[in-house]
Every structure is written in C-alpha cells, then in structure tokens.
C-alpha cells in the first residue's frame, strides 16, 4: 500500500483562532496547548459518504418542510445556492450540505431559545441536500432575522444561516456561517470578528444574485463553499491534477 495523497495544510491564520476574548464563550473552551500536526493517514483522508436514500427531496425546502397542510413559512422568501469546490477549484459532487437557522423574527425552534420573538408554526429551521455532479446545491428558505445574544449587553447577531459540509474526507469537515450582503451588523459582530482577515470574513458573505431569482416569487443569494484541496501523489502520478 502506498502513501495516500494528502490534503493541503489548513491555513490556521485564515480561520479564527481558538481563543478570541471578544467572543466570550471561547475563553474557557479553547485549548491552550498547541495542536499536534499529523501527516495524514487513511484515518484522515477518508470520510463518510451519503446517498439519496438518506434524505428526502423536500429536506432542502425550508419554506415547506415543516409547514402544515397548505401552509408556508412567513418571511422574505429566498433561494440560497452555490457550489462546493475544493482549493483547486474542482467541484465536490454528492456531498452532504446541512443548514440551520432562526425564523424571520430571529427565533430558533429550540427548547433552549427563550427569545420573546415568536415561533413560526410553519417553520422548522433546518434543511439538507446533496450537491449535484457539478458540486451545485440549493435551498429554499426565508431570510433569518437578526437576534440578540448575551455577549456584550447589546450584542446582535447579523442574519445568518449555519452551514455544515462534509467533503470526501474527515479532515475536510467544516461548519461555518453564511451572512448576507449589505447587513450593517456583520462588521459589528464578535463572532464574525473572530476571523482576523477581512478577506476571509468577506468569503462568508453571500451575494445578492438577481440572475437566480424567480421573478414575482423568490429572491436569491449565492454562497460558494471551498473545502481543502488535495495534493497529487508525487511519486505515483503525474501532477496533472493540480
């Protein structure tokens, strides 16, 4: 058996560091010791695979996937779409993308959320889909509202959708948050500002995409996701992959 082709090293100066005191909860939940860097083995370059039997086509439509008969969620109807690519700009097909979010008023359907904005009886707040053969995904949902949280006394999260992506390897596993173009809360948010690089922050802002809207029905935002790229196996293959 030969050495597996590794994934590119994660740029940890691009990601948020563990300890970010502006985001208070990180203070007691961040390791103090350095991470131990591993050259990858089969344990890291493999990961779970998912198929169409795992999910229902309705799972990607948050306007309807928790609605009662004939109902639909209240709020600004949006399509959230984009591609899952690797750092070599190659599409990642058939990978699982999961999302969760608050409703249009900023209220989560979660027993631990006691914010006074009401639950929407026709909105659950989670969805999932597989990317197609070109790495493309889309969801239909309502734009989430901003909500207050206990960090500083007057901290408000920008409108955001949480996103979980698998890729093909356990070392590509990623959870992030998608923000929306033009939101003045983005630059004020301690969680956004855990990311030191402004260009990296910008990579989390979905662009209004008028070309993808459905006229008289649903507006659209585009959010591409980039997972770690993979090296060619230098001594086994030509470098044509890179």
């Amino acid at each position: 058996m030969t050495t597996p082709a590794e994934f590119y090293e994660r740029d940890r100066a691009w990601h948020p560091p563990a300890q970010t005191p502006i985001y208070k909860t990180s203070v007691t939940r961040s390791p103090q010791y350095a991470l131990l860097s591993l050259q990858q083995s089969v344990s890291e370059i493999t990961g779970p695979t998912f198929g169409h039997t795992d999910i229902d086509p309705l799972d990607r439509d948050l306007i309807h996937n928790y609605a009662k008969d004939g109902g639909s969620a209240i709020g600004e109807r949006i399509i959230l779409h984009g591609r899952v690519l690797d750092e070599n700009a190659r599409p990642i097909p058939n990978t699982l993308v999961e999302i969760w979010q608050a409703n249009a008023g900023g209220r989560y359907r979660h027993k631990k959320d006691t914010y006074l904005a009401p639950i929407d009886p026709n909105f659950g707040g989670c969805g999932r889909t597989l990317t197609d053969e070109n790495g493309h995904y889309y969801f239909r949902t309502v734009k989430p509202g901003a909500y207050p949280w206990r960090n500083y006394v007057n901290s408000w999260r920008p409108a955001h959708i949480h996103m979980s992506i698998f890729g093909t390897a356990f070392c590509q596993r990623l959870i992030t948050q998608c923000y929306f173009e033009g939101d003045p809360l983005i630059e004020r948010c301690p969680i956004v500002n855990t990311i030191p690089d402004m260009a990296a922050q910008g990579q989390l802002v979905a662009a209004l995409d008028m070309n993808a809207t459905i006229p008289l029905d649903t507006i659209a935002y585009k959010f591409d996701i980039v997972l770690r790229g993979r090296r060619s196996t230098m001594f086994e293959n030509r470098l044509d992959g890179n």
């Binding site: 740029d11 563990a18 939940r29 390791p31 089969v42 493999t46 779970p48 229902d56 659950g124």
Partner: protein, 230 residues
C-alpha cells in the same frame, strides 16, 4: 512580480453555536422534522467484532461540563477497513463507520454504541511502501522517520464542535486494553510529553456484560486533551 498561484482559499470556520442540534440533531432540539436523522447507527446490525459503548463528558477550563457539544465519530470496522473507496477492503452491509451524538442538556454526558475498530495501516514514507515494523525505525528528535512502518493502534477519530469553539477540534480515542499496540502507535509516539498520551486513552469497564469505554475530554487547562491539526 511573480505569477499568481490561483488556489482558492478554504471557507473560514465559524462556531456551530448553541443551537447546532436544530440542524444536525433536531430530535434533541425538541422537534421531529426528518424521517431519518443521520448518524445514530455507526456500525449497523451486521458488523462483526466486539460491541462496545463509548461515553464521556466534555469539560471546560473551569472544570464544568459543557452541555451543548456535538461530537462526530469516524472509525474503521473490526478488520481496520473504513467505509470509503480509498480504504482497501470491504465493510459489512450497513456499516457506515460514522456517527454523531450530542451531550445531555442537563448532565453533559454523551455516548454511542458501536463496535471496537481494528488496527489501520499507518501512513508510509513519502512515495514509499508500508513495511513491517522494525525496532530501529523509531522517530528521531524531530519526530521524523516514524513513517514506513506498521499499523496504528485501534482508534476512533473524533470531531468536536460547540458554542465557543471557533473551529472544530480533532482528537482520537484509543483503548486502555490495547496497551501493546498503543505503545507502538506512530501518532501516540508523536506526542513528546508522555504524560499527555494518556489523555487519549479510554478506560474500560463492564456494565451488564457490555464493555463500556470512558473518554472524558478536557478542553483547556490541567490534563488538557491532545488535539490534532489533521
């Protein structure tokens, strides 16, 4: 000016937040939405090998349990094969090798049922072949030269996210009753401080005849768990 390297940058991580369960374990958040939640059955009914339970708690720097964690496990079957095309060999039908669990909101306890994984081939030296272990091929002072040998001890790969964790933490669960294999494990041997190695070893007890491995995770401070950049 030099030419531009046209690589894309990886999408930056953000915390999973306190409501991660809505998306990834909605039943725990308090509502049923999916016909089938993913990640409940790691090994499936046909898996060979020893049935085990793994459980523990995640502890923060103040010594308190963290009660809003999600953990994902990724493991090989009892013969050391992962359910993935790049892992040589076959797995039993229904063996996924992946699971996700959340901590109890009241106690912070988490646990999952699975089978004990078998040893997995270690990585080879760059461009080289995996060969049988030779005693003289231990790592040097820079941690080099561990490759080209042997197998890794049985382990479960773990990924941990929560509110306050900005980027998911990777660690590994090893097993107390595999002392000989653990002593030879190339990853375990990369940990320079021998007393930190024990933070990766789950302790074994029997409960109603079922082996239960205890694996507590300390995020920060004394006896902080070893986390990896994989």
């Amino acid at each position: 000016m030099v030419q531009k390297l046209d690589y894309l940058k990886e999408t930056p991580s953000q915390t999973a937040g306190p409501y991660v369960h809505i998306g990834l374990a909605p039943g725990a958040a308090g509502f049923d939405i999916y016909q089938q939640e993913l990640g409940w059955d790691i090994a499936g009914p046909n898996a060979k090998g020893e049935r085990i339970r793994v459980e523990g708690i995640v502890i923060d720097a103040t010594g308190s349990p963290v009660k809003d964690v999600m953990l994902e496990a990724w493991q090989a079957n009892s013969e050391g094969v992962y359910a993935h095309p790049e892992s040589p060999g076959e797995v039993e039908e229904g063996f996924r090798g992946w699971g996700r669990v959340i901590t109890d909101f009241e106690t912070g306890e988490w646990g999952f049922d699975t089978i004990k994984p078998g040893p997995v081939a270690a990585r080879a030296a760059m461009g080289g072949e995996v060969r049988p272990a030779a005693d003289e091929e231990l790592q040097d002072a820079y941690g080099r030269g561990h490759a080209g040998l042997r197998q890794m001890a049985p382990h479960i790969n773990l990924w941990i996210v929560a509110r306050g964790i900005n980027i998911g933490l990777n660690t590994r669960i090893y097993f107390e009753d595999e002392a000989e294999a653990n002593a030879e494990d190339p990853v375990m041997n990369l940990i320079e401080w021998e007393r930190r190695r024990k933070t990766l070893i789950a302790t074994r007890t029997l409960r109603d005849g079922l082996p239960v491995y205890r694996f507590d995770i300390k995020l920060q401070g004394e006896d902080e768990t070893v986390f990896f950049d994989i």
